[in-house]
């Protein structure tokens, strides 16, 4: 019995209803993505230039073409709950090359915003928020880095909030205004206890 652990569940998942129905489509989702992204995903003709340009695609199951297609069809839940949404590196290669002059990266960013409203966000992104709140940096300086800087003849800390800590309250004020920190703390607590 122990040997088939996980298989019935996987089979169940495979055999679920995969039809796309007419009422799966939410045109208002398409509209809000267009509004937030300020670009035109509805003009996508699915050529695949974006996925072919994407540095994430060959290393993961992330397919930006499919995300844009979901936007066009208004498949809100399918798009926002897909963990692949967070695999975009925001390198903007697809935006550079899109022949219909759409900005697919901005479409992804818009969907991340909409997902966050539903508390859908990986914890590492929230930890980044917390790091910015406390240090002013998404990736704060560390000892290895400091040693390397000194070796190269630079100051141990860069001339940012690491050196000028008095500016950190200003950053915190902005994040508080958008309740970013409070939400991040809340969600991290819910997930990690």
């Amino acid at each position: 019995m122990a040997k088939i652990k996980g298989y019935p569940e996987a089979l169940e998942a495979k055999l679920r209803d995969r039809y796309m129905y007419g009422d799966d489509a939410h045109p208002e989702f398409t509209d809000s993505v267009e509004k937030i992204s300020m670009t035109i995903p509805h003009m996508c003709y699915q050529c695949g230039t974006c996925t072919a340009s994407c540095p994430s695609a060959p290393r993961s199951s992330y397919r930006i073409r499919k995300f844009v297609r979901r936007v066009v069809l208004g498949l809100e839940t399918e798009a926002l709950t897909d963990p692949d949404l967070w695999l975009c590196t925001t390198c903007y290669s697809c935006t550079d090359r899109c022949p219909r002059d759409i900005a697919p990266t901005d479409v992804i960013m818009a969907m991340r915003n909409l997902a966050f409203k539903r508390d859908i966000i990986p914890v590492n992104f929230l930890k980044t928020v917390q790091a910015i709140y406390t240090t002013g940096h998404g990736v704060p300086n560390n000892d290895v880095n400091r040693a390397a800087r000194v070796k190269l003849g630079m100051d141990a800390d860069p001339p940012t909030t690491h050196t000028y800590k008095e500016f950190i309250p200003g950053i915190q004020k902005i994040l508080d205004y958008y309740k970013l920190k409070a939400n991040a703390d809340r969600i991290v607590k819910e997930r990690e206890g």
């Binding site: 995969r18 039809y19 796309m20 129905y21 509805h42 699915q46 073409r65 499919k66 069809l73």
Partner: protein, 704 residues
């Protein structure tokens, strides 16, 4: 390869043609050539065609070999034989070496036979003393990776060509006068445009149309892509021009009954189907001055018989006496003889003054003589109900695009209110199925692309969005083929307007019996997810096929068709309007699916081509016709029925029957010559001794 090598060793040494000459029955009866022929001196010219030929074979080896072929007096090669310097080589060699025949080993005769004939003529020989050896299309191109084999094959081809060139005779093309009139069959937009062009060029043109009005398919359309102008608005001025043109004799409700003759002199019999209604002209001919139909419509009002109107795709009623729509040209009513009950009500209301209606009118036959003819017989919609999975004719709310055109058209059965057939309610979700029956290799549909469905379906989606806010069109497609000028831009526009494009062919449709809504099953191949979409209306962009009567008409004019029934052009790229029958041309969709711009362009091309022989006044025919050796002809007449061009006849001569060839009609196909049991038919340029010499040259490798 082994076989090839052995053949290579059996190089030609002996005189072969001399022996052939001896056994060849000289056609003394035809008597054009003297028996004692001077020694044949053939020049062989080998073309490199850049590297096209030279890259795949050893030209020097071919040249050396050619020198050893009997009767060869001169051999040369050149990089491009067809170039001016190349032709000059031939010209000079003929004069310097007193050549009697020329062989050019190069490309296909379809490409450069005329070029080298001219060069032969320049050199002072009869142009028909030239023979081509194809060492490119049938050799270097297909044996690119076998240079040795290609070299051997080129040697064979040249040896065979020399054998024929040694026996070729002087021939002289015939010139026939051309009647200063033309005929156009079919009065859709293609036929109308062709007729107008011919008429404007000063040529008397008979425009024959089987239905009661001109206008064709285009008059059924609401709007045209990508400009969105109203189809009728741009078409009716042309219809009026056709009706008014002095040079156009409009023959509506007429069929071509028979065609005799050949380019320059076609005798065409037209069946004027009994309309049951007299035109003012016809009335006058019967002594009813000031009578005939004036299109008032009183008859229609009293007629008690109701029939479906075919112009409205059966979605609107018409009477047994009818016009198809208000803009018909000519405005003359027609009686549907099948459904008329001869109640005489129309005759009475028409009155004694007009006396336009004759219920007992009979079909008449009219003979006209024309120099050239254009076929513009158009297309029909494929019977899409044969693809049962989409339920056309089974589900009320599955319609064809032509029905959609009528439903969205302001002059259509609903006055332009788009409603679905089952309940007359405006649809909210409409699915368009592209490639419905096109690109289908099942044998039920058509294997080809119908070419204009993508574009009109985009237009339909636009019309829905424009006329009915909130209505969502879904376009199920495999590829969007927006190939024309401003077409891709139109596609962009429709996508921007909000049409949803789903890349996937609809597998089947099911109907909800209660709501009459339709479940459309497809695979969104871009998302890799099957789809089940409930819609109110489905529009099938059905495949098109040649119009119903095309096959009968084409046979009358001796025009071939391709496998799928579309009429066959003389060359798909370089002679798209011509046919293999001289003097017969093609315009519009009868040659293959075409949108309106392509149809009109093709019609203007056909009109231009058809006017050339008429303006020239005469045509020169290839002298490749059959000739009867009357001494040998037994008068059996078996060849007469075999001839596909009706060029042969039996005639009385010196008290006995012999066959006679109408040279202008003969295409030199050789059917009769090959069949004749008495060997009494001489095929010019393909005569039995010439062909025997070629076979010998091949089989014997030059040996006896």
């Amino acid at each position: 390869m082994a076989e090839r090598k052995t053949k290579k060793e059996t190089a030609p040494k002996k005189e072969t043609t001399a022996a052939v000459k001896k056994q060849a029955p000289k056609k003394a009866a035809i008597g054009e050539q003297p028996e004692a022929k001077k020694e044949a001196r053939v020049g062989v010219f080998i073309c490199h065609c850049g590297t096209n030929i030279a890259g795949s074979m050893d030209i020097n080896a071919v040249q050396e070999y050619s020198k050893s072929i009997p009767n060869v007096a001169y051999v040369d090669n050149y990089k491009y034989m067809c170039s001016m310097p190349g032709q000059a080589v031939i010209d000079k060699a003929i004069k310097d070496n007193k050549l009697t025949g020329v062989v050019v080993a190069a490309c296909s005769p379809r490409l450069h036979e005329p070029t080298f004939r001219t060069a032969t003529k320049e050199g002072g020989l009869n142009p028909f003393k030239f023979e081509m050896a194809n060492i490119r299309e049938q050799n270097s191109w297909v044996h690119m990776h076998d240079p040795e084999g290609a070299t051997d094959k080129a040697k064979d081809a040249i040896r065979i060509a020399v054998a024929k060139a040694s026996l070729l005779e002087d021939l002289f093309p015939k010139s026939v006068p051309v009647e200063r009139a033309a005929m156009v069959v079919g009065a859709g937009v293609a036929g109308m445009q062709a007729a107008l062009d011919l008429a404007n060029a000063g040529i008397k043109t008979y425009l024959v149309e089987k239905t009661p009005t001109i206008g064709g398919r285009m008059s059924q359309l609401d709007k045209t892509f990508p400009t969105l102008d109203c189809s009728q608005c741009i078409l009716t001025p042309k219809m009026v021009d056709v009706g008014r043109s002095e040079n156009i004799e409009l023959m509506t409700y007429c069929d071509v009954e028979s065609v005799e003759g050949y380019i320059g002199n076609f005798d065409v019999t037209i069946r004027k189907k009994a309309r049951g209604v007299l035109t003012p002209k016809e009335a006058e001919a019967r002594g009813i001055v000031g009578g005939g139909c004036n299109g008032c419509g009183d008859c229609e009002a009293v007629c008690p018989v109701v029939q479906p109107n075919t112009f409205e795709e059966g979605m609107k009623p018409r009477k047994a006496i009818y016009i198809q729509h208000p803009q018909v040209v000519p405005l003359i009513y027609t009686i549907d003889k099948e459904s008329c009950i001869k109640c005489d009500l129309c005759v009475k209301i028409c009155g004694d003054e007009k006396r336009a209606i004759d219920l007992n009118q009979e079909d008449e036959f009219v003979k006209v003589k024309v120099g050239t003819a254009i076929l513009a017989t158009g297309y029909d919609i494929f019977p899409i109900e044969n693809k049962t999975e989409w339920g056309y004719k089974r589900y009320e709310n599955v319609i064809t695009s032509l029905e959609f055109e009528r439903l969205i058209c302001a002059s259509g059965p609903t006055g332009g209110h788009m409603v679905r057939p089952s309940d007359g309610v405006a649809p909210k979700k409409v699915a368009f199925l592209l490639c419905a029956g096109s690109r289908d290799n099942t044998g039920i549909g058509k294997p080809y692309c119908s070419r204009f469905c993508c574009m009109y379906s985009l237009k339909h989606a636009h019309q829905l969005i424009e006329k009915m806010p909130g209505c969502q069109p879904y376009i199920f497609y495999m590829d969007i083929r927006s190939f024309g000028k401003m077409y891709e831009e139109f596609y962009y526009r429709i996508q921007d307007e909000g049409a949803k494009f789903i890349r996937g062919r609809v597998s089947n449709i099911l109907e909800d019996p209660a709501t009459k809504n339709l479940m459309v099953y497809a695979d969104d191949t871009l998302l890799d997810r099957p789809m089940k979409l409930e819609v109110d209306l489905v529009v099938l962009a059905a495949a098109v096929q040649p119009a119903a009567d095309t096959n009968r008409t084409r046979k009358l004019f001796g025009v071939s068709c391709s496998m799928d029934g579309w009429l066959l052009e003389a060359h798909p790229k370089l002679n798209p309007c011509g046919t293999t029958t001289a003097g017969v041309f093609l315009a519009g969709a009868c040659q293959g699916p075409k949108d309106i711009p392509d149809t009109v362009a093709s019609a203007e091309g056909a009109a231009s081509a058809a006017s050339i022989p008429i303006h020239t006044g005469h045509v020169e025919l290839e002298p490749y016709f059959a000739q009867c050796i009357e001494e040998k002809c037994a008068g059996c007449g078996m060849c007469v029925n075999l001839c596909p061009y009706t060029a042969l006849a039996l005639v009385e001569k010196d008290g006995r029957k012999v066959m006679q060839v109408t040279e202008a009609k003969c295409k030199g196909c050789g059917t009769c010559g090959g069949f004749c049991p008495g060997g009494a038919i001489w095929m010019n340029h393909f005569a039995t001794p010439q062909i025997v010499a070629q076979i010998d040259a091949f089989l014997l490798g030059g040996e006896q």
